[in-house]
Symmetry: C2
Subunit: 213 residues, 2 copies
DNA sequence: CAGCATCCGCTTTGATACTG
DNA sequence: CAGTATCAAAGCGGATGCTG
């Protein structure tokens, strides 16, 4: 990216990560950890392959990403955030919180990937952390996800589980709105939610306090 | 900006403010409040005038900026953030904190505007808020600034004051590093700082705790 | 002068095809 | 799988011109 040429912290930050797609590459690596090139392409629907290669080079040059040659059985290069790259998490968080308002507009033709759930759901907390942890099976998007509470926090990770406390499926917007408490069960079902299991565990999930300023 | 077409809060946010210059326009309006077109141009050195007009249209369409027809004596249109636009402050904060690391590299040919001081200095707090407030006259960049403590917080605003507790001048990087406690007086003087007044008041300025995550 | 709009050369992006 | 190559279209930067 062409530098803004301004002696200002915001402008200098954007000199490094202000290019189109750059912050979304960081999003992928933050949410999924080390990724192969193909994984990144899959998590960034719409990106041209040459642009992904360009951005990875740029981000590597900017000290955000490192290339790791993974030994067998992976036997390919992995891309991973550097510590400096991981420090972008608050930027992505702030953008995600601001952009959450825009998720009310329906999905339309937008692409969706299940692992993107980690962002909105990671803002939730378990209001009863002393009770046994919750495990919820969520099926929306390209792969099944497990949403679970750990030490009062909520995590989402790919996978399936034998006997979840609840199992959800349906359109991503409905699933997220329901888990975040923005839709009650009846309203969510009207918007396509399929629900099985213990309704009470959902109410344990509560939005985290907002970022300070 | 062309939409990323992803049902993800970060991508949707970037659909609105991810264009080149967009977040810097927001920076200007956040730091200076309502601005005339010409003020924005001055605060955004390097922007092409048609691009500024474009961005203002885009941001208006995105609900970030409003156009206000100010009555005489101003008698021109002012641009101002909407409440929704002001909610971008945490995003700019996070970017500014991340980008602060990049300010160690010297200014070089980068442009500088005095009002950009509000960002790095706004992260400082007054460690002795019960003592009388501090007033510091700072001369660096295009206009004199007053740095003062109000209720334990530090503010920077344009202006001059009769009898400040201290008066500083020199290159912007040196002034900021000194005020943030990253350079001591001797080191700062070696890097071009000119200082008059009470050295003790500077030590009352302390970095705020970082954003939570 | 403030507030744009137009034009033009250049760079970046996006889509597709191709290669080790 | 992990990219590179190619090319048309869009976006950007700079200069300049127009209007109240």
């Amino acid at each position: 990216m062409r530098s803004y040429g301004q002696y200002c912290a915001v402008a200098r930050a954007l000199d490094v990560v202000g290019d189109r797609w750059s912050l979304l590459v960081v999003r992928e690596l933050l949410m999924r950890g080390a990724c192969r090139y193909t994984d990144l392409r899959h998590g960034l629907p719409g990106i041209a392959t040459n642009l992904l290669a360009d951005r990875l080079r740029d981000l590597e040059g900017g000290g955000i990403v490192t290339r790791v040659d993974a030994p067998p059985p992976i036997a390919t290069t992995l891309y991973e955030l550097t510590p400096r790259g991981s420090e972008l998490a608050p930027v992505l968080d702030a953008l995600g919180i601001w952009g959450a308002e825009l998720m009310a507009q329906p999905q339309g033709t937008d692409e969706f990937r299940s692992h993107w759930l980690a962002f909105p759901l990671g803002r939730l907390t378990d209001s009863a952390p002393d009770l046994p942890p919750i495990t919820i099976q969520v099926r929306t998007g390209d792969q099944p996800m497990i949403v679970e509470t750990v030490d009062g926090r909520v995590r989402a990770r790919p996978g399936t589980v034998e006997h979840p406390d609840a199992a959800l499926a349906g359109p991503p917007g409905t699933v997220v709105a329901f888990l975040r408490g923005r839709l009650d069960l009846a309203g969510a079902k009207r918007r396509g939610l399929r629900f099985e299991g213990n309704k009470a565990v959902i109410t344990r999930l509560q939005p985290a306090r907002s970022l300070n300023r």
